[in-house]
Amino acid sequence: MNQRPRIAIHKFASCDGCQLAFLNLGEDLLTLARMTDIVHFAEAGPVDPEAAVDIAFIEGSISTPEDEERIRRVRANSRYLVTIGACATAGGVQALRNFADAGEWIASIYARPEYIQSLATSTPIAQHVKVDLEIWGCPVSGRQVLAALRALLSGVPPWLEKDKVCLECKRRQTVCVMVARGLPCMGPVTRTGCGAICPSFGRDCYACYGPAENPNTESLARRLQGLGLVPAAVARRFHFINAQAPGFAETGARRGKASHD
């Protein structure tokens, strides 16, 4: 590539954690700045939200009317659009509000709810504009973001991991926490990419990387009930970080209202 590709990193409703995948790159952050032209990345300095770019990375979900507008403009200005993280890809943990009366919630936190402009839902970017690549995870892994960047710099579509966490657990030779300890692990339906860190820390995966390809959520739900979870608890397993993701939304809903009645 003769010209350095232009890159933007945009933020919507989120915790900023996925952008840290860039800020935590260390030496590679400087390499990235050398190889590309980072035109908009508010956290790191450059700000030009309306700039036309080759690659736009989007963090965060859409939860206000203004953001609905803004993401359209970003799309129009970007040749290749990548969502990073659970918020941008599946609506994020804040999408739990989609199950509730968000207006009532706002009223209970803010004394003057009329000041607060907000949609009743938190929705993924792909519900609003075309997305070229979705990188899952809450937060995304720096390794995956780097690999995607590298592929795009080589002019080829990035390769995405979509297998189950279980495979990575076994590669790490972690003892299965579900089989050996009866923990309600979400690994068998969850997308790998994190390195199967939860089971390696002796705990159950809570599905922060969203659904894997071909997830049998119903079978796992039955298994979790077999382990002693009541239906509402099973619902909460699915309705957590990626509550709106396909498969998780339905199986959770079928077991009852997750957290709020």
């Binding site: 804040q94 608890a233 909460r236």
Partner: protein, 430 residues
């Protein structure tokens, strides 16, 4: 001639809900009429999301409030819930939580100093520009940031939304080999961190003394992180669970973040407030380092915050080394918890200042109500007050660009959140 200038500055800001905000300034006849730090990040409604969840899910949920200081959210939450259940996880857990927190301070402060604040004081638009002339300092900063992340990973597997913390302790105890490998790196980094402190102290920082109230935790022996009483520079000294008796949140029409006030007045939390109030808790070597910096702490110059952060990196590094040097692998890394109904508060020192949580939980361990007061909503009124004073002193007749930059620099001293403290953009006059 009456000149009215209304100067909005786009600023992404952290708050209860961090993200986007703006600085609005109205100047009439050279006097600042109104300063507003507008936060319009869409609310993510975490307090409500928590309702109905099991207490065991809280640490993973609250981490998602902030990707830059998830450890702080997890720590305040586990303390609040353990207080509520009357559980004491014992000295190993206590020590490891401090180590965990040290990692976050080092990571967050290094990131702030190098990526956000230092370019301001040295006159660069971003760290990338700064790296040209100050390559070794930037590398040192990135290395310290990485080291902070590594400490978090030791106990939490990853640095953003770590997965190791639980009510009652940690899911897993590190292996002694991992601890000693890390210790070596920490020891090697100590001279670097001290160099960093001296470097920040050498900046030509604006002199701008102001009167403000500092609030921080205070512990009988240690530099505060996970526990202590709530104290202020004006004599406040109450147990942390009585926070609500003196501190109250108020909603401003221009913000989705609530403003928190102490007895109705603005106050400061964060590194400078912590240092000012805990100078006598510094370990001896740090004390000597601070004495040699030539800055008279306690300081009333908010621009000294960057130095306070660098000093806290040294404190955290030393503390992590001290605690890990006596590391023993425990039989169990967490205690069993017996839920009971009640109400409990927890307060810890996030990198950006006090982070207060309260939970009401039923007998089955289900969260009934939650309340979270993050550092930024506590600093928000103080930021506005500071802006008013410092911009007035700076000179309101200056070009907008200069006003904007100065305003941003002032805001960045509070490190309201990473996206807040950035180098932004165009200035619009309406």
């Amino acid at each position: 001639m009456t000149e009215s200038r209304h100067i909005p500055v786009q600023v992404p800001v952290l708050a209860r809900v961090e993200g986007e905000g703006a600085l609005e300034l109205r100047v009439r006849d050279g006097a600042i009429e109104e300063v507003r730090l507008r936060i319009f990040e869409p609310p993510r409604l975490f307090e409500k999301l928590l309702e109905g969840r099991d207490y065991t899910e809280v640490p993973d949920m609250v981490a998602r409030i902030c990707g830059i200081c998830p450890v702080a959210y997890q720590m305040s939450a586990v303390h609040a819930i353990e207080n509520l259940f009357g559980a004491d996880p014992g000295p190993w857990v206590r020590a490891m939580r401090r180590v965990f927190y040290c990692g976050e301070w080092i990571q967050s402060h290094s990131l702030h100093i190098h990526l956000l604040a230092a370019p301001d004081f040295l006159g660069y638009a971003s760290v990338v520009e700064m790296a040209g002339k100050h390559a070794s300092e930037v590398r040192r900063g990135l290395k310290l940031q990485a080291l902070g992340n590594e400490i978090i990973r030791l106990l939490g597997a990853r640095s953003v939304h770590p997965v190791g913390a639980r009510v009652g302790g940690f899911h897993r105890a590190p292996k002694p080999e991992e601890v000693s490998a890390l210790l070596e790196k920490l020891r090697a980094a100590l001279p670097e961190a001290e160099g960093l402190a001296r470097w920040t102290a050498s900046f030509d920082l604006p002199r701008d003394e102001q009167d403000f109230t500092c609030v921080a935790l205070r512990h009988p022996r240690e530099y505060p992180m996970n526990e202590g009483r709530l104290v202020s520079s004006q004599g406040l000294d109450i147990p942390a669970d009585q926070f609500e008796t003196r501190f109250a949140e108020r909603q401003a029409p221009h913000s989705t973040a609530l403003h928190c006030l102490l007895d109705g007045k603005p106050y400061l939390v964060g590194p400078l407030a912590r240092l000012n109030l805990n100078l006598d808790r510094l370990p001896e070597p740090v004390r000597e380092l601070v004495d040699g910096l030539g800055i008279p702490f306690p300081s009333r110059n908010m621009h000294h915050s960057i130095v306070a952060r660098a000093i806290e990196i040294v404190i955290a590094l030393r503390e992590a080394i001290r605690l890990l040097e006596s590391y023993r692998e425990p039989r169990e890394s967490w205690i069993a918890i017996q839920p009971r109904a009640g109400n409990g508060a927890g307060c810890t020192e996030a990198p950006r200042g006090l982070l207060w949580h309260r939970y009401e939980i039923d007998a089955h361990g289900k969260v009934m109500r939650a309340r979270i007061v993050p550092p930024t909503s506590q600093n928000q009124s103080r930021i506005e007050e500071d802006l008013r004073q410092s911009l007035q002193r700076f000179g309101t007749d200056r070009p907008e660009e200069a006003l904007r930059r100065h305003g941003e620099m002032v805001i960045r001293n509070y490190d309201p959140c990473i996206s807040c403290a950035t180098h932004f953009l165009e200035l619009r006059i309406t």
